[in-house]
Assembly symmetry: C2
Homo-oligomer: 208 residues x 2
């Protein structure tokens, strides 16, 4: 199996990233792969504190401060988790990365995308995903699925339909712009059917 | 009295910024000025959480993540505190701002200063101080004074003499480069003597 691959999973709320990454990791490990599953924001000690600031921030948190908190989490995640794992040859499956920042803070909140690209590059220290799987789902269906899984709606889910539509459209536009890196997988009728498409994409990444 | 002035105070550990800002604010208020005293990191609800992350982060916190946390604090501070106060015509005295980030993260920790300038500009939304007072103090004397004021040494004070020397030299270099904005005030034998120099500088800012 190909070593030190960095695969990111992107998509709007309720696209099933977490479920599918877990299923995919099980599959890849059964084939003998050394796989790390991680996420942003998350995956470091710092992340718990940052997640708390993001969720508790409420309406008072400025979009720019929110952006910098996500980038702080990223900088620590790259330094502490991603680079060490990739250097050891681990295959890394990461739930959200720089594209989410562009989709949510850029397309969603309307912050300058050139500034976000600059911050993304600095925080990531230039680390780019080898491949990105975009799990696409229509906004209403996604939000319905996201609500079912959680006990309360967080700040993001309260942001409104128009916001989430901009986020989804943003993801699709990013995928079109970087169509060599992205593989768009529309959500199928069942988890199993979507997972088959994801494994198929993954198999092709491991071969190329 | 001149309105909406934004004055920042910079300097190494133990330079007496907090003490002198408080004395200066009392003086300015006695002359009828509407004065806001604020600080970075600090001055917002978000700041308490960020300060905690910075202080608790310990050795594991990457310099880049630290930088982004300071910038998150700055973005929120500008949005929530500085801009609203300046728009109302308040005179703002701010304990540390973008120059501290250059001195500590750039000159001190060795992060790329061009990247820091970029992040500073984005986080501050272009808000620059009208004047900056650099309270200068030799490193050993400053650290001795800083220790006396606190119950425990925080992470910054443990960073070592060479680090603090780079920070002080960095501040002095910044002051030389932007000598129209900066006024360097070397610490005098007594608080009163230093404060007289600061008031003198402040009076000249208010006239020009």
């Amino acid at each position: 199996m190909k070593k030190g691959l960095f695969i990111t999973f992107e998509g709007p709320e309720g696209s099933g990233k977490t479920t599918h990454i877990a299923l995919l990791a099980t599959y890849l490990r059964s084939k003998g792969g050394r796989v790390l599953v991680t996420r942003e924001p998350g995956g470091t000690n710092l992340a718990a504190g940052i997640r708390k600031l993001l969720l508790d921030g409420g309406e008072g948190l400025s979009p720019m401060a929110e952006l910098f908190l996500y980038e702080a989490d990223r900088a620590q995640h790259v330094h502490e988790t991603l680079l060490p794992a990739l250097r050891k040859g681990t295959l890394v499956l990461c739930d959200r990365y720089t594209d989410s920042t562009l989709a949510y803070q850029g397309f969603g909140r309307g912050l300058n995308r050139k500034a976000i690209n600059t911050l993304n590059a600095i925080a990531a220290g230039g680390l780019k995903p080898h491949h990105t799987i975009l799990l696409d789902v229509p906004v209403k269906r996604g939000l319905r699925q996201a609500k079912r899984k959680k006990n309360h709606h967080d700040r993001l889910e309260r942001a409104g339909l128009a916001f989430h539509q901009r986020v989804r459209d943003g993801f699709l536009r990013l995928a079109k712009t970087e169509n060599r890196r992205f593989r768009v997988i529309p959500q199928q009728a069942t988890i199993e059917a979507t997972q088959i498409l994801i494994r198929h994409a993954m198999d092709s990444f491991l071969k190329t």
